[in-house]
Amino acid sequence: MKRWSVILAAIALSVALILAILELGPAGIDLRLPVAENMASSGVTHPVTAVLLNFRGYDTLLEVAVLLIALFGILAVGMEPLPSLVKPADPMLQRLARFACPLVIVAGVYLLWAGAFRPGGAFQAGALLAAAIVLLHLSGLWPGWGTPSWRQRLLLSGGFAVFLAVSVAMMGFGALLEYPQAYAGLLILLIESGLTLSLAAILAGLFLFLSRDTGGNP
């Protein structure tokens, strides 16, 4: 009974919503105009990067906080290592991983740099680097992570700390995150570099801290 009422409600909602959307006129405000007008002073030349790291950079700061919270939650829950789960190494996969990983790293660094003028940036680069680490782990070349050491913790939170520090420093000149025009590009590059390293560590950590195959590490 409950299943049918949920299904019917879902169908009814979708149909009604679709009909409402079809009769929608054009929107009153077009944000592409102010974005285009202010791009020159934003420090980057790609509109999405400008929105992500300058116009709405505050959202980006908070979203890194969300990632960190997930990491804290995972560490708080904790998973004990299970030595019996260690998989035998597959030489074919390992060779492929060893071959692929340097390429992935190069692609990641390129994405970071390219973010200023085409789709790319810190999140994409960090995700790519994290994928390389996870690939190494899955092929048995990189052990899972146990409780993080203080150096690891510094790396995990470092990118966020840099972002936060830059945002707060700007309050001395104006509002939170208000980059002075001349330095906007430089500051954004600084923030993105720090974020890339941290994000790679965090995203890899979201996988590796859950792994029970720690190769003997506690």
Binding site: L17, I29, R153
Partner: protein, 479 residues
């Protein structure tokens, strides 16, 4: 450093700083950095309120761009009131938690980092004026709260955390779909820009958006019938976490409902106030009933939260209006302080007797008189006995309801007070009247009992000094 907007920005940044440093540098420093940071934040929030009373609401344009291109932080009397409550209650609970977790340090070491980020998210939510930014703050709060519930727990705690996680994700998902529809309809997500646009013209899609957003937020606030996730989560978590969740976290999504209802969606809600009001009434009756029947202390208190949240929604037919807003803020304060005190007291009882059952309370009255007294004081606030702040809020509610001719509200309020008395006296009777058994009652550090007492005392004293709190809202209500 003198305008409300910048102060609000500092209130968001500071907890992020001590939360991150607690993550990197564990150990005793983590607790003390948190307490120091919270003390500074408490001072800042009072300073913010003082400036607000003099010079009126403030706006902080993050990035210097200004809405609708950038994100605005807007501070008015309502935000300031909630900021003050959040910092003061969290500071007191932090002092409580430091002692509470002293012997289980490794199991609960992430409490400080998670709490720091949770408070940052809440402060950010209370001042944000951008619908999408509000979504991100909602997620910060939701994920941090889930992490806190799951911390160091066994099967029941993890299951409760998962139930909470799915509920909160469903809620924020519905909210985000609403934001997507609004952006599609109007081209902006800035509250300041949207309010005149919505007043002007409401395409059909916006009705769906408003409904989705409000229902999603009600799911996060555990309004009946969406309350199913709250009792297991709040009763299963460690006592300081339960206190934070019941006293503060559920109020964050409620604040957003109130803000949207009164300001942004004002043209849409004409005539619909009976819906949240009847759900609120159901929450009061059902929550109180389940509390009376609960046989675990923290489960009783958690169901009491479900009931007390109902009062907040009961006021909706009286909105908008300064009096109704004052009632809501006073009730948020009263319940926040009292519930934090109750969970703190319950934590002491659980630590002392080693288990959570009502029958385990036998003999505690003699051994932990201060704790039971705090519990009773907090109970008077929930019941609405004078001179507590709970009495003040209920009296104002009845006053406003009678002035508006809404006497069914009066009946529900009085019934709720009686039912609250029943479950409060249940605990007190178990503690006072049951003959002491031979079970050992562990010694409890003094600071735990005193922090619970301070919170309970504050909830009563606030009833005597309610005028200042109301004064904070006058500039806002007039606008």
């Amino acid at each position: 450093m003198g305008d409300p907007g910048s102060l609000a920005a500092w209130l968001i940044v500071l907890p992020l700083v001590w939360g991150s440093s607690s993550f990197v540098f564990f150990g005793k420093q983590a607790a003390w950095t948190a307490i120091a940071g919270l003390a500074v934040q408490t001072a800042l929030s009072f300073h913010l309120a003082a400036i607000l009373m003099e010079s009126g609401p403030g706006v902080h344009r993050v990035g210097g761009w200004g809405a609708p291109l950038g994100i605005d932080l807007a501070v008015d009397g309502l935000s300031a009131a909630l900021l003050i409550l959040t910092q003061t209650v969290t500071l007191t609970l932090a002092i409580y938690a430091r002692t509470y977790f002293l012997h289980d340090e490794s199991k609960y070491r992430h409490f400080w980092s998670l709490t720091g980020f949770l408070i940052a998210g809440m402060n950010a939510l209370f001042v944000s004026a951008d619908l999408f930014n509000l979504y991100v703050t909602l997620e910060i709060i939701g994920l941090a709260a889930v992490g806190l519930v799951a911390m160091g727990g066994g099967v029941n705690q993890i299951a409760a955390a998962l139930r909470y996680l799915f509920a909160t994700l469903l809620g924020s998902g519905a909210y985000l779909l609403g934001v997507a529809l609004i952006y599609g309809a109007y081209g902006t997500v800035s509250l300041e820009t949207l309010t005149p646009l919505i007043a002007n013209h409401v395409p059909r899609v916006v009705w769906f958006a408003a409904g989705l957003m409000l229902v999603g937020l009600m799911l996060k606030t555990a309004l009946f019938p969406f309350h199913y996730w709250l009792p297991p989560a709040h009763s299963g978590a460690a006592a300081p976490v339960s206190a934070l969740l019941s006293a503060l976290v559920v109020k964050a999504s409620f604040y957003l409902i109130m803000r949207l209802w009164i300001e942004t969606f004002a043209p849409l809600n004409v005539g619909y106030a009976w819906l949240p009001a009847s759900l609120g009434a159901a929450a009061i009756l059902w929550g109180s009933w389940k509390a009376i029947r609960a046989d675990r202390i923290k489960m009783l208190i958690a169901y009491s939260t479900v009931a007390q949240l109902g009062y907040l929604f009961l006021v909706f037919p009286l909105l908008p209006g300064l009096k109704a807003a004052q009632v809501i803020v006073m009730q948020i304060y009263a319940h926040g302080l009292a519930k934090a005190a109750m969970f703190a007291a319950a934590g002491v009882l659980v630590k002392a007797t080693g288990h959570d059952t009502m029958s385990g309370l036998a003999g505690t009255a003699g051994r932990l008189p201060l704790t039971l007294f705090s519990f009773g004081l907090a109970g008077t606030t929930l019941m609405g006995l004078p001179p507590s702040s709970g009495f003040l809020s209920k009296w104002q509610l009845i006053d406003a309801a009678l002035a508006d001719g809404q006497w069914p509200l009066v009946v529900i309020v009085l019934a709720g007070g009686l039912l609250a008395a029943v479950y409060v006296f249940r605990i007190l009777s178990f503690a006072f009247l049951l003959p002491p058994t031979n079970e050992k009652i562990a010694p409890i550090p003094r600071s735990l009992e005193w922090t619970a007492f301070v919170l309970a005392g504050a909830s009563v004293v606030l009833g005597l000094r309610g005028v200042e709190l109301i004064g904070l809202l006058i500039p806002w209500g007039a606008g």
